[in-house]
Symmetry: none
Subunit: 212 residues, 4 copies
Amino acid sequence: MAAAARVLHEQGIERTTLADIAREADVPVGNVYYYFKTKDELVQAALSEHTAHLDELTARLDELPDPRDRLKALVRAWVEQRDVAARYGCPTGTLAAELGKRADGTLDAEAGAVIRRLLDWAARQFREMRLSGANGNTDGADDPYDPYAPYDPDDLALTLVAGYQGMSLMANALRDPEVMTREGARLLHWLDSLQWASPENPLKHFPGPPHQ
Amino acid sequence: MAAAARVLHEQGIERTTLADIAREADVPVGNVYYYFKTKDELVQAALSEHTAHLDELTARLDELPDPRDRLKALVRAWVEQRDVAARYGCPTGTLAAELGKRADGTLDAEAGAVIRRLLDWAARQFREMRLSGANGNTDGADDPYDPYAPYDPDDLALTLVAGYQGMSLMANALRDPEVMTREGARLLHWLDSLQWASPENPLKHFPGPPHQ
Amino acid sequence: MAAAARVLHEQGIERTTLADIAREADVPVGNVYYYFKTKDELVQAALSEHTAHLDELTARLDELPDPRDRLKALVRAWVEQRDVAARYGCPTGTLAAELGKRADGTLDAEAGAVIRRLLDWAARQFREMRLSGANGNTDGADDPYDPYAPYDPDDLALTLVAGYQGMSLMANALRDPEVMTREGARLLHWLDSLQWASPENPLKHFPGPPHQ
Amino acid sequence: MAAAARVLHEQGIERTTLADIAREADVPVGNVYYYFKTKDELVQAALSEHTAHLDELTARLDELPDPRDRLKALVRAWVEQRDVAARYGCPTGTLAAELGKRADGTLDAEAGAVIRRLLDWAARQFREMRLSGANGNTDGADDPYDPYAPYDPDDLALTLVAGYQGMSLMANALRDPEVMTREGARLLHWLDSLQWASPENPLKHFPGPPHQ
DNA sequence: TATGAATGAGTCTTCATTCAT
DNA sequence: CATGAATGAAGACTCATTCAT
């Protein structure tokens, strides 16, 4: 499964032959089929592998006391992978993109699930941040652009993960790991800036885009 | 070329056969080879097609007097494509991701070039924005987190395009066009918020992520 | 198609590879797939080939004025094929038997159809025989063993074709062409004996089984 | 062995994998190989199984005092199996047909042997019938169509078994158990009609095909 | 004896590419 | 320039058979 995850990430699903995976795993081709009845099952296994990696990572991050620190540590972990990302993109993201091209949507639902899992974890952190720092303001929930409205943790999570996917894809397309560093710094800065804005407490620090 | 661009976007490079493209273009297979000697040349043609589309779009946007409006119109154009993006992702982005998996890097340089072209156009707009609105502060260029440092147009462009790629990929992975709407709104809001911050002019409006 | 029919008959469906057929037809394997998208389509083509042969044969027989003579000529044609039958069995029969083992019943319905076509032709001949020779007795249609009841052409046809299939299979299993000769003679004799029995016209000649 | 016989009959030799047989027998695959060194040995075992069934059946029939009754009971036993025959054909017959397609003739000799064993038993019965009913006429043995010539028990046996194989194959090809019923009735009728014809004792009853 | 994993040769099928007309 | 057939090199998948335990 590790071999499959690695090779599928590096070469993409379609360009990876079973022989590639078998060679990487150092087993004969036929034996691969003893464990995985189809190539699709191998892709699924690779997806599971990524899920497992993600779970392991978030479990480690969960040990940090502050949810904001957890999120920042996550971003730092992403940036550390910058060379891989610049060469092959985000494993889950590129897998999802490839699976999305299929007519039969069995597998891409699973790719979406992996991403949703990350989304959920991040949303949980954002929700916890609110608990410790919220001013309880729930007015204006109807106006999504009210700067004093409470944050929606799901939206924040979406922004975070989309940010990761975006920077991975750009780093990959431009073959430049520095993209990860720069955009990663922006995300860290953004995470730091998140706080409840109120008329008495206007946002002074620029929380979103980079202003380097 | 249009047929190639369309089918390659929808099915991905590897899953698309020449027969698919020929059928879509309503010409016999042999004829395709009269114009394109290899499949790679067809991919290249599709890439050119996307470049042409992009040039056409930016040319139209260039007619708007205000560079900020041009960028906002670009974002709106992206959001309008939300259904396609949710189904197949960003044409250039997914193409680049697929080409990035290749050992031979002939074509993915070209995919990168298309994205860089977009990046350049956006940076030009940001640069223009600065020209019309900057306070001339170039201090602190060394400190990327100095909130009063001048923006780097290239970085802003990177953030913008990464934002687009990220939201496209997320919309695609989650099969949810609404992702485009939400993240697009955030980008618009962000574009609106961009201005020179200074001690006398602190940022009052939340410029980054949405907080509903 | 001729090559497919021949090889499939000789080697059976499962033991015949596409390479076998391609070699026999003296075309490269890939080219076979230009005309037949799957192996099953090739089997179907072989079936059509057999149908065509059958049609050709019956068309020739139809030129004989007497229906009884047509049937007898058919039996003689079968006997002439005794060496092939002893080696490989009846083409249609063995094909039908093999197809009958499949879970998916798409093709074996077609095999059945070929046999039914033969059955229909034979029944037509028997019906014609009745028209020219019947005594009009329709009594006792309820008693299938009333020796004076009129013959049912469909049953006669079934008996004839079953006789052919039986003798082919026995010849094949025993690898003995003489089986075809002996049983063929019995069928001829039986065809000759068919006439309307009545109390005034008791059957004197042994019409059914062999009594050599 | 029973599992092998059953599955090989239902699926055919080539479409049956060792895993199928192992699963049906509820033993692990490796274990099958402890008892049967090759797949061919399994086929042979299935053939033995059929022989054993046949021996058991004929032994039971041998208890009947009249040889004609034994043969008629055999036909009735065949007809009772009509549903299996309509679905999968005669076990021995289809096996023999499949084995006949092989280049190497080791096994199909054995399939022929099973059928010959049946032939021999039937011939024995016919011979016994003659002993008890013959008029001793041995004239005209040279003229196979002399209606007063003595029957050849081997030929009668061949006709009987060919009749069985033919009706099984037709029932299978047409997927219609009623074929067995109709042709079975004809065979019974035929068995009943068998007697020595002589000028003084012309055949009054229609002995051959049904004429309803 | 029993077990389940290992092995690799062989089969169907696809497809980029070529080519004769 | 157009066309449709030809070609063969892969690639997914199967399965009889072996083998270590």
